[in-house]
Symmetry: D2
Subunit: 343 residues, 4 copies
């Protein structure tokens, strides 16, 4: 951390700030410059809260230098993490395709879609049993019945299943049924939920918050790993910007940044970013080309009758096409996605 002093800061102020730094247990190192003095804050074990010094007399600015995360960082673990979910490997050069409906609506619906996506090449089945909805009047999911249907899909198809948990009350229940536990974008900074996920024995798919920086996202993953569960998959799903032609703005530059900063697998959800079916295939191709470890895509056999998110759900034949195109790109990018981060 660097504390930058006002141009007209007095020697006494510089000394007082240095004393305040040392009173917090750090080492202060004043760096006289041409125009002003800056003070380095050294020997900090991890990040320092910038608000500790920002308000002191004579201080103009406080600039963090060290990243706030540890366990998620590539400096902590240089090699890529590989997660194993049933027979499916995630991360570290593997390309994982997750697909399924926004919400589980019925056993028939789930099984129909599951068979379609499996045939097309998906590795995991996704479907919501508990749905976070902006409106209290919207369909909220089938709850435990939905989880039971997911279990049937797994038994019937052999595909592991991904589903969202919304709160700690239902965490045990979701953990019992799911193979991968999803934490949604609105809960990325629900720290109680993150702490509970840290005690889970199953992989956690952590979606990026709608306006989260990469640092905040990695810090959310840090909560889970620090709690004891190192099986975290990150999922970019678009951020909120002024743009209106897609529901959110897919931030694909986050993928090389995450791959450089962290050893965790990172996948992309183009469906929620787009909000419109016709952007999903192009964005899927882009996500794979930029270096993501996988995709999570909404597919519905009859999207016009879906109870939620129909507009962004692919028809099964569109998902087949997506899988073909993605495979071509993965092949084109050989000798392997690992090489993708070399720029």
């Amino acid at each position: 951390m660097l504390v930058v002093m006002d141009q007209k800061a007095t020697t006494e102020q510089v000394e007082a700030v240095s004393a305040a730094i040392e009173a917090r247990g750090f080492k202060a190192r004043p760096i006289p410059g041409g125009e002003r003095v800056a003070i380095g804050v050294l020997h900090n074990d991890g990040p320092v809260d910038s608000s500790l010094f920002l308000g002191l007399p004579g201080v103009r600015d406080v600039i963090p230098v060290t990243k706030p995360y540890k366990l998620v960082s590539r400096e902590f673990q240089p090699e890529d993490t590989t997660l194993q979910v049933g027979d499916v490997a995630i991360g570290n050069g593997h390309m994982t395709l997750i697909a399924g409906p926004c919400a589980i609506e019925s056993k028939t619906q789930a099984l129909t879609i599951a068979r379609h996506i499996q045939k097309a090449g998906a590795h995991l089945f996704r479907g919501g049993a508990f749905k976070p909805r902006t409106s209290p009047y919207s369909f909220q999911g089938l709850g435990e019945e939905g989880l039971k249907i997911l279990a049937e899909v797994r038994e019937t198809t052999g595909m592991p299943v991904v589903t969202e948990v919304m709160d700690n009350e239902h965490f045990d229940l979701v953990e019992e049924y799911a193979d991968v536990i999803q934490i949604g974008t609105r809960n990325m900074q629900n720290y109680s939920l993150l702490r509970r996920a840290g005690q889970a024995g199953k992989p956690v798919l952590l979606k990026r918050g709608m306006s989260a920086t990469v640092d905040e996202w990695l810090m959310a993953a840090e909560y889970i790993i620090e709690g004891g569960n190192s099986q975290v998959i990150l999922c970019e799903r678009g951020v909120r910007t002024f743009v209106r032609h897609s529901r959110n703005t897919l931030d694909l530059s986050a993928i090389p940044v995450i791959r450089r900063e962290s050893h965790l697998p990172v996948i992309v959800d183009p469906s929620h970013a787009a909000g419109r079916r016709e952007q999903v295939i192009p964005l899927s191709r882009a996500a794979v080309a930029v270096g993501a470890h996988g995709l999570m895509v909404e597919v519905h056999h009859a999207p016009d009758e879906a109870l939620s998110d129909g507009a962004q759900s692919l028809h099964p034949q569109q998902f087949e096409k997506l899988c073909r195109q993605v495979r071509s790109i993965v092949n084109a990018c050989r000798p392997g996605p690992v090489e993708l981060i070399d720029a």
Copy 2:
């Protein structure tokens, strides 16, 4: 809702979309225009999910017309809501000042600050016992001990207390001690927490999410009221934008919009918006002038030693000054803040 068709949409497509609208239980009314056809969706009881029709063949766009909220709206209840917290009235022409430290650190700290802010003119005391922190390594609050200190502050000073609840596990506990239960910005769309808040018997102070639209914010309040608790106070605290000179961008235009759309009281937290002490007093003046029903401000008797958010905490004498300036502006804006929304 209005479904806009492609310029080259066929008659069959228009008819198919109309049929799909009616199959969902609405009434379809095609409106031929000069260049293209639009189809009105009528007799909808509440908002319609735009994704139901967005993906149909020939559809170019779907445009919502009706607002999604009901119980919070001024169309539902034309007159302002007034809440009563102990002797303090909130909303509807009253100006309520809430102040206190970011986090309760000790009994001495809390009581010292409480006496300062009460003398300056604050009506409620705020202080965090459970703190949502970006880093798992940061100070997380004193927990129940903090709640007990809050109870002592109330007993000693007579001021009602505001404190945050982070999850349903601790809701009963927080509800037992707090006079106003705060839901933080990161939990604005934690629907499980909102549902529990809907069963609470105490007022809920609902902070705006960091990238929430006014509609989403009002929908979060709708969850609470729909659950049975109509005592909701809205709190603007800045949104995330590209701007970096303040921690968040205080969106003061939201205040007249909320006051026009909703009957609920709406206050402003300038401290978290600014992130820096020197902006807090100017932004407080602006918030009062724009028509907010109150302020929530961070104050610390020794901000340079605070365990969190010291940089944005006012010194007690600064808070006194803030109260004086705010009172001047309130007086200047007589015959009353109610008139403030008349433009």
Copy 3:
């Protein structure tokens, strides 16, 4: 356009708004709904200014239905535009690679880089002679001398050259030397410059403004085409958001939207979006995969000594690698980029 009335709007207000609509020369068609009345505005030849009706008594909202652009739209011209610059074709299934330094620094520098990029597979050479710089104290480009060097590069290598024009004073000069005239992001809504570009006889590469919507960007192109020059190439270069890990957020979802809405070629500049070299290759792959018609990339033979934008400039061997990877992806996406927009 749809004028939505307040729930409590009176019949007189509906009639007055209808009269105001007809007074402007349109046809008003009231559409009674369950809760409120909306009024369709028909027979408008092109877009209607929403502010005409937004302030009228009883009006709650005004919703544009028709897109504001015409000449750039695919409804106006269904087939893709192909531009010819020397031997190079741009748009409509062709993949065009433009590369070169941020600024022309010297004849040696320009020729060295030009030979590198040509060997690697670039089709056009780019380089700034007039540089828009945030600071008046920064290097502003070589001016006409830079243009002369560009002409030498063209003569020596045979590659057409792209360079930026900043104002109408220098437009004739730039037009004389350049094969493609670039209009930069800060000038996207410099309407005087757009009008002059409309009279140019050479293709114009129009960068997206830093916070421009797709509609505004297409309207800027509309200015040029309406002025008489239909040779416009659009260039996505990132938009400004809260994100800080890249200089701007590359909005790749704009590419399928542009390709659906417009017949114009659209390329991507990953260098200015990223601001950091290590993101440029991954983002280039993504841009090609999402369906862009080309790339414009900054390359410098000695980026650590560049007079501007060194951090985002690729080394020549990195550009070679980029070209190889891009070719693989283009091949993988056959039978051709045109098919890319089918989702």
Copy 4:
């Protein structure tokens, strides 16, 4: 400037970066920390381009420490600038009200509005003769005829007039007629226009760009002052964010920041920020309370018939009310707006 090295950067890399810093004429001062080395860049006369060092091997980040502006800064000139326009003083404790229509439509219109606003208390008259419009098909202003009408307004009422210049071709003409020359938001980084404004003999009102940081805005002012014209008035008019309830998000926190960083007067345009009449009066009150030196407001005697921006234009009686409320707040904030920046 601080160059932060990777944790695993080698001694050779640190030395190479230090050598590169010194090769650019600066002094390098390595600062060994607990986890990594940072290198201070000293003796820089003004800001250093961060891209010079960002791409060097072993460099993780480059952090600017010094602000890039000079002439506009309060460190350069501690006391507030006061501008004199006819009898009107702007800045430094004065409250200046500028009002008038978006566009000059006719002599009758201009004079009618001018008389209204003068009676209400406005000091300057504003009105556009050259209008930047998103669409080439919209009304573009009366041009020179509009300027002549402005001159008549000045002669008749004695009020100085403000009008926008869009390009250098018309700069002489606008300068001949205007008392204050406005540079619009879309031209804030039109450097050719800024350079020409630096040679003007009249005050320049510089609107903030739609997505400009405060630093970029001040750098635009720096261009004008560096060119020789120190008469600059800054004007905040809202920035582009995800928010949709107002046309732009008025960033009032910029006002105390500007007043702390710069000696220049800074005013607020609430009309373009709001885009809707009913927000203009509340935002005007807030702007004055936060410490702005003035307001620029759109007023039209018959806004429902205005050729542009009718929805955001106040009726004359609304502007009277605005003036009354603003005066009350100014009085309430005595002993003077200068005190407003003391927090």
